[in-house]
């Protein structure tokens, strides 16, 4: 079976000479299809860089990155990848509905290219253009379909951005701190909705976050990263039952996982300071 995401001895350096900054050093990461994996770590640990490498927005200086057995560029050409950036990145001149359907008009040759990537054809018989109105409805945006992004709250804009990404039916969904600009309350409700949507599509998710509780709540596995140089220091599987709702917070194991991740982050932080 080919892995959804695979990084082998990946190295990425910004700049050169004495001012060079090693953003990622010798990173190994394998994600099975359908897993929800979070990357967590302090700023400068290269988690966003890792995401951009998988998205094909940057290329590694050494090592290989593959998505379902092909390069990130080929994966983009076949529209295997959906990206939810930190800001909603909606187009202000299009209504919410047009914003989320525009990707279907882009790169129409992608479906054919996708079929040629053998490992994927088994995954889906029922693939067709999704009903975007139903998706928007599911995300609680049925009232906002014809509104412009500027008429929506930040949380609703980010939900529209998530619907846009899910509408692509991506094989790998990349999310770069999508909830970091939202207030606590909005964030929790968006986490619920993200899990609902993910439950249906069962896509692979690579989720970058600063928040320990967010990582535990959402993920099957949490990858802990450390800075200087950016690297992976720990891999923690979160063995909690799904669906994960509000009751999860009362579960003692939830907090045990939080503590484990915090410990891993702290020891990585100390070792980085000592180095």
């Amino acid at each position: 079976m080919t892995q959804a995401v695979e990084l082998a001895s990946v190295r990425k350096v910004y700049g050169f000479g004495p001012s060079a900054m090693v953003a990622l050093n010798d990173v190994e990461l394998t994600i099975e299809p359908g897993r929800f994996v979070s990357l967590i770590g302090p700023s400068g640990c290269g988690k966003s860089t890792l995401l951009r490498l998988v998205a094909g927005l940057e290329s590694a200086d050494a090592g290989t990155v593959s998505v379902h057995g092909v390069t990130p560029e080929e994966a983009c050409a076949a529209k295997l990848i959906g990206l939810v950036p930190q800001s909603p990145a909606l187009l202000p001149w299009l209504s919410v509905l047009k914003n989320v359907t525009l990707p279907h008009k882009i790169n129409r040759g992608a479906a054919g290219r996708r079929e040629r990537i053998g490992a994927l054809s088994a995954r889906d018989e029922s693939r067709g253009a999704p009903d975007m109105l139903a998706l928007l409805d599911k995300a609680g945006l049925s009232e906002a379909v014809d509104k412009l992004p500027s008429q929506l709250s930040g949380g609703m804009q980010q939900r529209a951005a998530i619907v846009r990404a899910f509408g692509l039916q991506p094989d790998v969904l990349l999310m770069d701190e999508p909830f970091s600009a939202l207030d606590e309350f909005t964030r929790e409700s968006l986490q619920d909705q993200l899990l609902d949507l993910w439950d249906e599509l069962k896509t692979t998710v690579l989720f970058v976050t600063h928040s320990v509780s967010e990582a535990v709540r959402l993920s099957d596995s949490v990858v802990v990263m450390a800075p200087r140089p950016g690297r992976i220091v720990d891999w923690i599987d979160i063995d909690l039952p799904r669906p994960r709702n509000q009751r999860l917070f009362e579960d003692a194991r939830f907090h045990e996982y939080e503590d484990r991740i915090r410990d891993a982050l702290h020891s990585a932080w100390r070792s980085a300071d000592a180095a």
């Binding site: 998205a55 990145a89 187009l91 692509l168 909005t186």
Partner: protein, 290 residues
């Protein structure tokens, strides 16, 4: 996400529903509306301007009485306009035709070049320095040379008007095409959007507010271009610029000022046209929400 909480809240306090209804917004044609469309009926809105105009008019009349060789009295201007309205309008149409035609030429050239510049860095490096030099060269100085080259026909007028409109459109459109937010570009690059798709769906719509900012400058400028060209081509067949130069050589001050007044009105009308178009096209943009 708030809907759930709101419904439970109203279920607990059913009496609150009526109070929670938003107050009915007064019509925009009512004075109670904050941005009422008939706000101008209030003296506070129109009185300052009217007083200012009256003061200026009185000053003008005083000046005209003291210096009859410099300023025509206002009634004389009105008389000239009333008696020769057809003559003025005919020349105004010539000038307007020149400015609009030059505007269209300048717009198309600048827009196409802006797209090429934003897509091909080599074009940018080749063209931009020349465009900048062209922009800082006074058009008033180029105009006579163009008249020598192209004669007294419409050609030099179109060239000058197009030139004067060209640069603001070029600079603003280029900026707009290049200023699509990075995260938006990244979302569409992960779909492997082609350059044409990025241009059509992201860059050009993104450039529209910038383009309209340029058009607001350029619409009135186009009249300046046409008049400068007409003034340089002494002996041209028509246009308000020609009217002004002939009348001033014969010391017909009332005619000169009548033509100037019509030019000002034309400028205002063009500005009005572009404002209306802008509101339609850019209804989504901050600049159109009042």
């Amino acid at each position: 996400m708030t809907t759930v909480e709101e419904t439970t809240a109203t279920a607990e306090r059913p009496t609150a529903t009526a109070a929670a209804q938003p107050p009915v917004e007064p019509s925009r044609y009512s004075l109670r509306h904050p941005q009422s469309r008939i706000a101008w009926v209030r003296p506070a809105v129109w009185l300052p301007l009217v007083v200012m105009l009256a003061a200026l008019g009185a000053l003008w009349q005083l000046g005209a009485a003291k210096l009859p060789y410099l300023l025509p009295p206002l009634p004389a201007i009105g008389q000239s306009l009333g008696q020769n309205l057809g003559y003025y309008l005919q020349n105004a149409m010539i000038t307007l035709g020149e400015s609009v035609a030059g505007l269209v030429i300048g717009f198309v050239a600048a827009f196409v070049l802006a797209v090429l510049i934003s897509e091909l860095p080599i074009v940018r490096r080749a063209v931009m320095p020349i465009a900048v030099v062209l922009n800082v060269t006074p058009l008033v100085a180029i105009a006579p040379a163009l008249v020598v080259a192209f004669g007294f026909g419409p050609m030099p007028k179109l060239v000058i008007t197009a030139l004067i409109c060209f640069f603001p459109i070029l600079i603003n459109t280029t900026t707009g095409l290049r200023s699509v937010p990075q995260q938006v570009l990244q979302v569409y690059k992960t779909m492997d959007a082609s350059r044409i798709e990025l241009l059509v769906h992201l860059r050009i719509p993104n450039a529209l507010p910038f383009l309209f900012a340029a058009l607001r400058i350029v619409f009135p400028l186009s009249i300046i271009g046409a008049v400068v060209a007409e003034l340089s081509a002494s002996g041209a067949t028509g246009g308000l610029g020609t009217v002004i130069s002939t009348a001033s050589s014969m010391n017909q001050l009332a005619v000169v000022y009548s033509a100037i007044l019509i030019l000002a009105v034309m400028g205002v009308l063009l500005l009005l046209v572009i404002t209306v178009i802008e509101r339609r096209v850019l209804h989504w943009h901050e600049s159109s929400t009042d």
